[in-house]
Each structure stands twice: as C-alpha cells, then as structure tokens.
Amino acid sequence: MEQHASEFPANVKRAIADSQLQSTMTETGPRFIEKRAKARANLPEFDALRDQARDIKDHVLAHLDLYLERYEAKVVETGGHVHWAETAEEARAAILSICKRLDAKLATKGKSMISEEIGLNPALEAAHVTPVETDLGEYLIQIRGEAPSHIIAPAVHLTRDQIEADFRKAHTHLDPNRDLTEIPTLVEEARQVLRQKYLDADVGITGANFLISETGTSIIVTNEGNGDLTQTLPKAHIVIASIEKVVPTLEDATTILRVLARSATGQDFSNYTTFSTGPRRADDPDGPLEYHVVILDNGRSNVLGTEFQDMLRCIRCGACLNHCPVYQAVGGHAYGWVYPGPIGSVVTPALIGIEKAKHLPNASTFCGRCEEVCPMRIPLPRLLRHWREKEFEKHLTPGAVRWGLGVWAYFAKRPKLYQFGTRIAARLLHVMGRGKGRFTSLPLAHGWTQYRDMPAPQGKTFQAMWKERARG
C-alpha cells in the first residue's frame, strides 16, 4: 500500500476539522473500551493468560527460524505448498503466479492486513484478476476506494448514510427505489451481492491469525463466516501471513486465541475460528483442491534481536487503537499506512523506515493505556521512545525542535540555573495572569493556546513550596 505517513501533520489537521469523522469516533470509541473491560471482568484468568501468551511468543521469536522450518515441513507433508517471500514484490509475484497458472479471473478475499501491506489488490487487478473483499467492512471501503482505518473494524469511520449512498452507486443492477434505511437491509444486500462471488471465485485469499508448527495449520477468525466461504469454495486457497504469526502447538494457539477476541471486540471467542491444514483429502466432498501459504518477511527479520523485537508479539487485536486518545482524536487514515494507532506508530517505521514515518512515534503522550491493555504485553511507550531516539540520532527531528530541546537540555543539566529560570517564569506568569487565572493566548505558546487555555501558575515553583513545607 502507498504510504502517506510522512503527511501525518496535514492528515491530522484534516481529520480534526472533519466533523463527520469526529462525531463517529466520539460515538464508537467508548464502546470498544467498555466491551473489552467487560470481557476481562468475566474471565478471572485473563491477565494470567496474557502473561502466558507473551511468554509463548517470546519463546517462538527466540527460535523463529526453527519453528518456521518445522511449519513448512508439516504443510508440505499434508499436501500444501509454502512460498517464502522476503519482500512485498516477491509475495505479489507468488500469488499472481498461482492465479495465472489456474487462469483465475475472480478472487474472493478474507480480511488481511498483510495483503494491504503488499498492495495485493492493485496487482491482481493489473493482472486481470478481480479481487472482491468479503469482510463487510473491507467491502465497504473497497467500493469507496479507501484504505482500512482500523485493524479490526476497517469501516468504523463510515456512517449509515455514507454506506447507503455507496451501495446505490455500486449496486446499479438493483431497483433504485428500494428502501435502504435500516442497517439490516444494507447487510442483507451485501450478503446477496457477495453470495454469488463466493460461488464463482476461482481463488480464495485469506490471511492467517496464527500458523501452527505442530500440525502445519493456518487459523483464521471471523464473525461473518466470510473467511470460510472464501477458503472452502474456490479451486485454490492462498494464505498470506507474516513470519511472526507462527506458534508451536494447538495448545499454544488456544491460549493466545483466548485473549485475542476479548481484547479486540470483547467477545469471548470469534464466531468462526477455523483451523485449516492442506488441500482437500481423498474423501473430502468439499474444500479447495490446492492450498498455498505465502510467508512474508518484509523487514521483520531485521527487527529480531533488536530493541524493537517485542513489536513482533503483536496479534493485531486493535486494543491499543481503541484505548489511544490520539487515535480516537484523528482516526486511522491520518497515520497514512496500513497500521494505525500505537502499534502502527511502532511497526510503520520498522517496515517503511523512520525517515518516512518520523511523525508517528511523536503522535503519543505516553499515557500508557496501550501497554496496559495489550494482550501480549508489548511495551509500546518504550518502543515509541526508542524510535524518537533513533529519529534524533539521524537528525530527522525538525530544526526548531532540536534547538528547543538543546535549550532545555542546557538548563536541565544545570539545576541551579533551571530553578532560577523557572522561579522567574512562575512569578511573571502569575502576575500576568492574575486577573483571569488563565491565558487564552501566550507568546511562544500559540500551538498550545490555540486550542486550550493555559492555567496561570500560583506564583511559586514546586521546589520552593516543597522546601517551605519541609521547613514548616
């Protein structure tokens, strides 16, 4: 997918001015938070499971090469094919080659962030294979020509009105006078439109939440059943997954599955959790005739063994997005690439480079909610800070910021001077602001006071008051 992460400041301005987006985000935001909290409260073992999930993934990452080898051996043993793709280009090529060999014209798709990452849909179209997204949220944005704005709920930014308009525009074969006011009617229309696609598809492409080494199995989770129809009906099932999706055993997969849905949507379990191993067996009356797994690196192996390794524990649940005040304020599109929110701000620099993604690690107040809710206990604020350090080292930080930081550092390293300066500033601001108790505008602080008032200090520095109280 094309990146627009470098345009983050402009994207943010646009997002904040977008009143439609703002009201949608305000409405949907609290619900995800409530649902997760409720699911956690209903399972006493939840936090202990998170610890185990983290440990399982850490173990895998320390032995990733071996688990991948064992996984491949099992896939081949059960009649499947594994295609190793170091780059997005190689992944696309592998998939297109399968489609060409099968003379495929139509490909149904289950939801896959990796397929967004490698820009699969445009490549399929260029090769005269029509991709049809079957996850309802993905379908909604496909007909709009948009990218997903959330890892779990790709169309969370859309309203019913917008969707009705999109359906009328896209489904021209239906009666223009039909009533689409009710949401169930819209869903029913999508069901009808997509039903025939499932039946006609030559190839079904899905992602994988996990790949199991023990058995050579890929797992997908959906609530709609679209992934299952996508992978069961066509001639070939192609799985596209990244290297860190692998887990050792069925039990290990189960442990992580227990924290996945609860963290993502507050469900105890996704409605359809499907384990697929190889193509149709001799006595199977249904199922794909071919089973392919394209395993993508795209920069992830470079992260192994570095201070950023923990990001590879991510299971793409979206909890960090749901709890992030910055994401809730600007939505997913502002982040400009496949992965938004806290995890997006950590992963994007790793995959497309800190030069292009330099704004994202700064889109955080380090409030820490993301780390608090992450089922895999990824230390997101720490990773964001590491990126900021990298940015600084590479002189990517804007000159004005570097200068400001330099001034601050000068004073911070000289405590007496610092205290002197702040004493004066506190006194001065107190005198200036005494009338109203706050500033609606301040010289040099326009970025702050444009949107919010600055309270006037009461006149003494914290350190001075501390000393006073210690004396008294």
Partner: protein, 210 residues
Amino acid sequence: MPQGDVVARRRAVDERLAHPRRNIVPDRGEGDEAHRIAVFQRMMEGVGGTVEILDDVNDVPASVATYLRNTNRPARIRHGSDERLTSLPWHRAQTLEVEEGRALDADTASLTHAFAGVAETGTIVQLSGPANPTTLNFLPEAHIVLLEAKDLHGSYEEVWGRLREIYGPGQMPRTVNMISGPSRTADIEQTIVRPAHGPKDMHVIIVRSL
C-alpha cells in the same frame, strides 16, 4: 553461534512440539455434565443461537421437523454421511425431505453431528470430511447441530486430546471449524446484525447422556 547453543535450540523446539503441554485452562467450563450444559446454553443463547435439550436421540428427527416448521422454513434438510445421523429414525418425521452430501447453494437448512462442544465459550466443533462436509456449516441459512452431551467438554484442550487420539500426533483433518453462534457483523455503525454471510440461525440439539 557456539555449537552447544545450536543443539540446545533445536532440542527446545523438538521437545515443545513432541510433547504439547496445556497452558492455563480457565475454570469456567469445568464441572459435571449438567453444569457444562448450563454454561454452554447460556453462552450460545447469549449470541442469538438456540438450544434444545433432549433425553433420547431418537427424538431428533421430530425435533428437526418442528424447528423448521416453527421458523417458517421448507421441510428440507441436508446432512452428510455421518452414521449417527443416517441411522436416526427419519421415518418419524414423514413430511421431512432428507438429502445427503455437501451443501448446495439452494439448501435452506443443514444438520451436522458435532465432533465436540466446548462449554467455556458455547462453541461447537465440526471436522471436515464426508460425514459432515464443511459447506454444511456455512451455506444454508439454518444450521442445526446434534451435540451429544458426552462430547461436550469444559475447554478446548480436551478437543485437541481427542483429535490426537483419532488422527495421530501432529495430524489434523483438513478443516476444524469452531463455531460459537450464528453469523453476525457489526461493521455498520457498530450495530450487530445477523446474519452476515454464514447461517442466520444456529440451533443446537443437545442429547443428554443416559
């Protein structure tokens, strides 16, 4: 990398794969059959599925006919070659048209025999194959599942144990479907709508153990 490390790493992986171990298993589904049925029913009904409890498996054909009548559906059902379904007294549901095989687009209702149920999350487990073809779980609008209470386990881990016994260590059928209710989506304004693409209704008939 020192030789010892290489060997140690390989051994760690071999060990973990050869002897799969359970991690933490939640308490929720643990208990006797009555408890497991109660938990399963609560979870399945909580997501819009329906549950019926019978004492005699021979009552299943009549139950299926009644269910289809009550939900205004054609008196037609398709199931796979599972002996536990083909051997049921279908003559007790004279008006019901019973067909066999994988699901076709025009099918309105399917009947499968669950490999297992999991009380923990109100989940049924179906295995691919001629006995219960996978398409029966997804294409028809109504999916009726026959679950014997003896196969209703507390947690998923017990299912893996049974699978390994039947298929062998490290072996799986082509597809294992874990299904926890009728199909749904919340992709439009976070409003839950049923169905999405899979079945609109899931009706689980649990037959208690003697």
